[in-house]
C-alpha cells in the first residue's frame, strides 16, 4: 500500500490508528529481536501520538485534512534528539540521556501526524561504514544476518527494508545515508547541506552533517523530504530559500537529461557484480531517454578521503569535548582533579573508533600541523566543489556505484585495517564534502544481495535525483 492510500485509510478511519500503531510496534519488537535495528523503541510516545490523533479524528477530521504523514511510522537515527526519549547517538557516554527538546525534523514530523516509533541503531556518533562501532547492538543485513547493513545509519536502512508503512530519518556526514541504503536495497536521499535543519542533531562534523529520508520507495523518500526540508532560524547554516515540492518529480520523464558517468569510479577496486548492476542501471536511464557519457572527476576521487577525514575528525574532536560527565550522560565516581575526572569518564565511555578520531582530529588542528592538514583540507574542499560545479554545467546528474562492494560478512570486516575501512567510502565522501545532494537507488541483486547506484546532483537539485530515481522499481 502506498503512503498516500494508507493516509487516506487512516483519515477515513478505515484503519484505526491506535490499533495500527500497536501492530507496528509489535512488528518492530519482532524485527528488532532478529536484526537489532533499534536502540530504543519509543512505544510510549508512539501510542500517545496515535491516541491524540484518534481523539482528533473522532471529534473532527478537519484540522487533520492536510497532514502529510498522518499515521505513518517514522523512525529516527539515534543521533536525532527526540524530547523525552533516550537519545544516545550509539554511545555509552550518552546512555540514559533524554533530550529536553525535539530536533527540528522531529517537530516537523509530529506536526504532520507522523508517529515516532523509535531511535535506530548506528555507529557511535556516526563513526563507521558498517554500524559495527556501536556501544549497543549491531544491526544485521535484512538479506543475510551474517552481513552488515552498512553505516552509519544502519538501523534506519535495515528497518526501511523490513517494515512496511514506515519511513526513516537517516543522517549522513560522509556517506552514512547512501551506503547503508545500498547494502539494504532501499532509497536513501542525502540532501544539500543546509537544506534540512541540523537543529537537534547530535553533531559529528558541523560542516558536513545532513539529515535525510530513507525508504523503500522513492515516493516515501520524496514525501518525507517535503516535510523536513525548509528554513529554520535556529540553525545558522540552514538555507534561507523556499524548498520545492519534491513529490512532483516522482515519475517525471527523464528524456533528455544528461548523466555523467564518473570515469574514476569504475574499474579497479570495484567488485564486478557491483559494476555490472550499475551499468544496467545506467542503461535503464538511457532507455528512458536520458543521455549518458563519461566524465573525469579526478580530484574528488583522489583527494576525497583525506580531505574528508581531516575536516570531519577536526570538527568531531571539538564536538565530542562536551561529553565529560558533568551535566548529562555517563558519569563516574567523583574524585581527583577535574582533568582526572574528565579523563576517566571519557576513557571508560567512548568507544575505540571515537578515541581514534578524537586523536586524529586533535592532531590535525594542532598549532604547527593545522596549516598542513586542517587548513589545507579546507582549500582542497573548495577545489573539489569547483570541479563538481564545472561538471554540473554539462550534466544534470553524475553516476557511480554507491559502494564498491556487496554487503560484507562481519567476519570479513574484522580483517580490515582502519585505513581500508576508510577507503571503502571513496564514492560517497566527495559529494558529502562538497555538500551536494545524492541518492542511493537500488538497481539490482547479485547473490541475493542488493546493489546500489549513486546519483549526485548540483546543490538544491534534489528534484532531479528523485526524477531519475523514480525510473527504477515498480512497486
Amino acid at each position: 500500500m502506498s503512503a498516500k492510500n494508507f493516509i487516506d485509510k487512516i483519515k477515513n478511519q478505515e484503519i484505526d490508528i491506535v490499533e495500527h500503531t500497536e501492530k507496528i510496534l509489535g512488528e518492530c519488537k519482532e524485527i528488532n529481536k532478529e536484526y537489532g535495528y533499534f536502540n530504543t523503541i519509543s512505544e510510549g510516545l508512539a501510542l500517545e501520538q496515535a491516541k491524540e490523533i484518534r481523539k482528533q479524528l473522532k471529534n473532527s477530521s478537519k484540522n487533520l485534512k492536510n497532514k502529510k504523514l498522518l499515521g505513518i511510522a517514522i523512525s529516527a537515527k539515534d543521533a536525532i534528539c527526540v524530547k523525552g526519549v533516550e537519545t544516545t547517538a550509539g554511545s555509552k557516554i550518552l546512555q540514559n540521556y533524554k533530550p529536553l527538546f525535539d530536533a527540528f525534523v522531529i517537530q516537523k514530523v509530529k506536526e504532520e501526524g507522523g508517529i515516532i516509533i523509535g531511535k535506530t541503531a548506528q555507529d557511535e556518533f556516526g563513526f563507521g561504514t558498517f554500524s559495527i562501532n556501536s556501544a549497543f547492538g549491531i544491526p544485521k543485513n535484512p538479506f543475510d544476518t551474517e552481513r552488515s547493513c552498512g553505516g552509519s545509519s544502519g538501523g534506519a536502512a535495515g528497518l526501511s527494508q523490513k517494515l512496511a508503512n514506515h519511513i526513516a530519518l537517516g543522517e549522513s556526514t560522509g556517506g552514512s545515508i547512501t551506503t547503508p541504503a545500498s547494502f539494504c536495497g532501499v532509497y536513501g536521499l542525502c540532501p544539500t547541506y543546509g537544506r534540512v535543519s541540523r537543529c537537534g542533531l547530535i553533531d559529528f562534523a558541523n560542516s558536513l552533517d545532513k539529515i535525510g529520508p530513507m525508504g523503500k520507495t522513492i515516493e516515501d523518500v520524496a514525501l518525507l523530504m517535503n516535510v523536513i526540508a525548509g528554513h529554520d532560524a535556529n540553525d545558522s547554516t540552514s538555507l534561507n530559500e523556499k524548498s520545492e515540492d519534491y513529490e512532483k518529480y516522482v515519475k517525471k520523464p527523464v528524456k533528455g537529461m544528461k548523466i555523467g558517468i564518473i570515469k574514476e569510479a569504475f574499474g579497479s577496486g570495484v567488485e564486478r557484480e557491483v559494476e555490472k548492476n550499475v551499468y544496467n542501471g545506467i542503461q535503464e536511464l538511457e532507455e528512458e531517454g536520458a543521455k549518458a557519457e563519461e566524465v573525469s572527476l579526478e580530484l574528488p576521487i583522489k583527494y576525497g578521503i583525506p580531505t574528508y577525514y581531516m575536516i570531519a575528525t577536526s570538527e568531531a574532536s571539538t564536538n565530542l569535548a562536551k561529553y565529560c560527565g558533568m551535566r548529562y550522560g555517563a558519569f563516574e565516581k567523583l574524585e581527583g582533579s577535574f582533568n582526572e575526572y574528565f579523563t576517566k569518564v571519557r576513557s571508560n565511555n567512548f568507544g575505540e573508533e571515537v578515541k581514534r578520531r578524537i586523536i586524529l582530529g586533535t592532531f590535525a588542528r594542532m598549532a604547527g600541523y593545522r596549516d598542513a592538514f586542517y587548513l589545507k583540507a579546507a582549500k582542497v574542499r573548495t577545489l573539489m566543489i569547483n570541479e563538481y560545479k564545472k561538471a554540473f554545467r554539462k550534466f544534470d546528474a553524475l553516476v557511480s556505484p554507491t559502494i564498491s562492494i556487496l554487503p560484507p560478512k562481519f567476519s570479513d570486516i574484522e580483517k580490515l585495517s582502519p585505513l581500508q575501512h576508510y577507503m571503502i567510502d571513496v564514492m560517497t565522501v566527495s559529494p558529502n564534502v562538497a555538500g551536494l545532494p545524492h541518492l542511493n537507488v537500488p538497481v539490482g541483486f547479485e547473490k541475493n544481495l542488493p546493489v546500489g547506484m549513486l546519483l549526485i546532483a548540483d546543490h538544491l537539485q534534489e528534484g532531479k535525483l528523485i526524477q531519475l530515481g523514480s525510473v527504477f522499481g515498480n512497486e
Binding site: 540521556y97 570538527e315 562536551k322 577535574f338 586533535t362 598549532a367 579546507a378
Partner: protein, 469 residues
C-alpha cells in the same frame, strides 16, 4: 622576546575583556541579566546540550562594531567565529566560541589624557564561560559549583600593543577605555564586568615577559602592576617567562605556570556559524549614529560654554556627569555649573562612594539648587549642605522654603543677630580689640549659627567690624 625594540624601562601590554550590555546572550535568547538564582537564565545552547546550535545576536555585533569605530580600527569585511578548545569546568562545550584568524577590528588606537596614543592590536568578540563558585573559598573548597547564568554572555576583547610604560599609564588606559565603552552605551558602567590580563616586562630582566591574569577594574590594574614592577626589580636576575595571577585580597601576584609554552587551543572555524559579510552600509549606518565621545564633549564644553580645559576634561571623563553638566549649563551660568558639578557634586559622590546614577541626583535638582545660588537666594554654604542631602525624590525648593533657608539679605535683621552675638561674647570682642584677629572669626561663627548659615560670612564680617569700631 626581542627586547631591542623596547626603549622604555617598563613595557606593558593589556588584554581587556569587557561585557557588552545586550539584553540577550551572544548565541541564544537567554537574558543576560535578571534572575540571580543560579542556573535559571539558561537553555540547551548556553548549557552545551547535545544537538543545540548557536544563533548569533546581531545586536552584540553592532555593539562591538561601535567600539571598533570609536577606536579607529580597520573593520574586517567578514565576521568569522572559531572554536578555542580546552577542557575546564566552566566551559559548557569545552570549547569557547571566539574569533581567531580574523578579528572584527584591528590596528586601532586610544588616546590618553596626556596625548599619548596607545596602539590597539585587535578587537574581537567571544562568549563568556559559566561562573565557578567555591563554597569554602578558592583554596579550601572540596568541591565547586557551576552557575551557567553567565555562560554565553557577550564579551569583547581588546588587545593593546606593548605601548604602555608605567602602571599609572595602564590605569589611565583602562579608565579611558571604560569611558569610551560608557559613552557608546555598550557597557553597564555600574554592574558590568571588565577584566584585564597584563603582559609586563622590565629592562633589568632583559624584558622577560610575565603575564598577570585575573585583574578586575582599573584601580586593581595599577596595584597589580606596581606590585609586579617592584617584584621584578627586586628579583631581576631570576625573572623567568611565566604566567602569574593577581590576588587582590593579599595584594600579591603568584605563579601559575613557568616556562610558558604557548598553549595549544587547536583553533578551527566554527562551522555552526556561517561567515557573515559586514556590509559597508551597516558600518556607515553605525558611524552616522555614533554618539559624541569624551573628546568631542571636551571640545564642545570649551568652545560652547567657555569653561576651562581642566574642568571640561574632568566633566567629560564621566558620561553621566557630562550629560548633567550640559543640561544644567543650558539653564544657569556654565562657569558656575562647571564649578559646582566638578567640585561639589563630585566631592559628595566620592564621599558616598556612589556613581551619579546610583545617587539618584537629577539635573532638575541641580538646576533648582544652582538657580538659588545664582540668584543669591541661598548661600553657597547652605547649597553645599543641601547637595549632601540630595536623593531621588528630594525637592530643593520645597525644602528651602520649609526650613526657612533663604539667605538673610535684610541688613537690619542681620545687624540684630550681630548685636546679639557681640553682647553674648564680650571676651571675644575684647580679644579682637587687643589684636586677636582670630577672635573675629569666632563672633562671625556665632552669627552664622544663629542664621543657620543663611547669611554669607563676608557680609556678617563687614557688619561686625562696623559695629565693634
Amino acid at each position: 622576546m626581542n627586547h631591542k625594540k623596547f626603549t622604555s624601562d617598563i613595557v606593558i601590554g593589556l588584554e581587556i575583556h569587557a561585557e557588552l550590555n545586550t539584553k540577550t546572550k551572544l548565541f541564544c535568547s537567554c537574558p543576560t541579566k535578571g534572575n540571580e538564582e543560579p542556573n535559571t537564565r539558561t537553555c540547551p545552547t548556553c548549557l552545551g546540550m547535545p544537538g543545540s546550535k548557536p544563533v548569533l545576536n546581531k545586536k552584540a555585533v553592532e555593539f562591538a562594531l561601535k567600539l571598533c569605530l570609536a577606536l579607529g580600527c580597520e573593520i574586517s569585511p567578514e565576521l568569522i567565529f572559531s572554536r578555542k578548545s580546552y577542557f575546564y569546568p566552566d566551559m559548557a562545550k569545552n570549547y569557547q566560541i571566539t574569533q581567531y584568524e580574523v578579528p572584527l577590528g584591528k590596528k586601532g588606537k586610544l588616546k590618553l589624557s596626556n596625548g599619548k596614543e596607545v596602539g590597539i592590536t585587535r578587537v574581537h568578540m567571544e562568549e563568556d564561560p559559566a561562573s565557578l563558585i567555591h563554597p569554602a573559598g578558592m583554596k579550601e573548597s572540596q568541591y565547586v559549583l557551576v552557575d551557567y547564568n553567565r555562560s554565553g554572555n557577550p564579551l569583547v576583547e581588546i588587545v593593546t600593543e606593548p605601548d604602555l610604560t608605567s602602571p599609572d599609564e595602564a590605569r589611565e588606559f583602562m579608565k579611558q577605555l571604560i569611558t569610551v565603552l560608557d559613552y557608546l552605551e555598550i557597557f553597564d558602567i555600574n554592574g558590568g564586568i571588565i577584566k584585564a590580563d597584563a603582559n609586563i616586562s622590565i629592562k633589568e630582566s632583559s624584558y622577560k615577559r610575565v603575564e598577570i591574569k585575573n585583574i578586575t577594574g582599573f584601580k586593581e590594574i595599577e596595584r597589580a602592576l606596581l606590585y609586579e614592577v617592584k617584584r621584578q626589580k627586586e628579583e631581576a636576575h631570576k625573572i623567568e617567562q611565566e604566567t602569574r595571577s593577581w590576588d587582590s585580597e593579599r595584594g600579591v601576584t603568584f605563579s601559575l605556570r613557568k616556562k610558558e609554552t604557548e598553549e595549544d587551543y587547536g583553533y578551527i572555524i566554527d562551522t555552526d556559524l556561517v561567515a557573515i559579510e559586514i556590509e559597508d552600509k551597516w558600518v556607515s549606518g553605525l558611524r552616522k549614529h555614533m554618539p559624541e565621545l569624551a573628546q568631542d564633549k571636551v571640545r564642545k564644553f570649551i568652545d560652547k560654554y567657555k569653561i576651562k580645559k581642566d574642568d571640561a576634561e574632568i566633566l567629560a571623563s564621566d558620561k553621566q556627569l557630562a550629560e548633567m553638566f550640559e543640561k544644567v549649563a543650558e539653564e544657569i551660568d556654565p562657569l558656575l555649573a562647571a564649578k559646582w558639578i566638578r567640585k561639589e557634586l563630585l566631592r559628595v559622590l566620592n564621599y558616598n562612594k556612589k556613581s551619579l546614577t546610583e545617587s539618584g541626583i537629577t539635573e532638575i535638582q541641580m538646576i533648582d539648587l544652582l538657580k538659588l545660588v545664582e540668584r543669591k537666594h541661598i548661600t553657597e554654604n547652605v547649597a553645599s549642605k543641601i547637595l549632601e542631602m540630595l536623593s531621588a525624590d528630594f525637592d530643593v525648593n520645597k525644602y528651602v522654603k520649609k526650613e526657612g533657608l533663604e539667605a538673610v539679605s535684610d541688613i537690619s535683621e542681620l545687624e540684630k543677630y550681630c548685636r546679639e552675638a557681640i553682647e553674648e561674647n564680650p571676651k571675644a570682642v575684647e580679644d579682637y580689640k587687643k589684636g586677636g584677629a582670630r577672635a573675629l572669626n569666632f563672633i562671625v561663627g556665632a552669627v552664622m549659627r544663629k542664621t543657620k548659615g543663611k547669611a554669607t560670612p563676608k557680609e556678617v564680617n563687614e557688619i561686625i567690624l562696623k559695629l565693634i569700631k
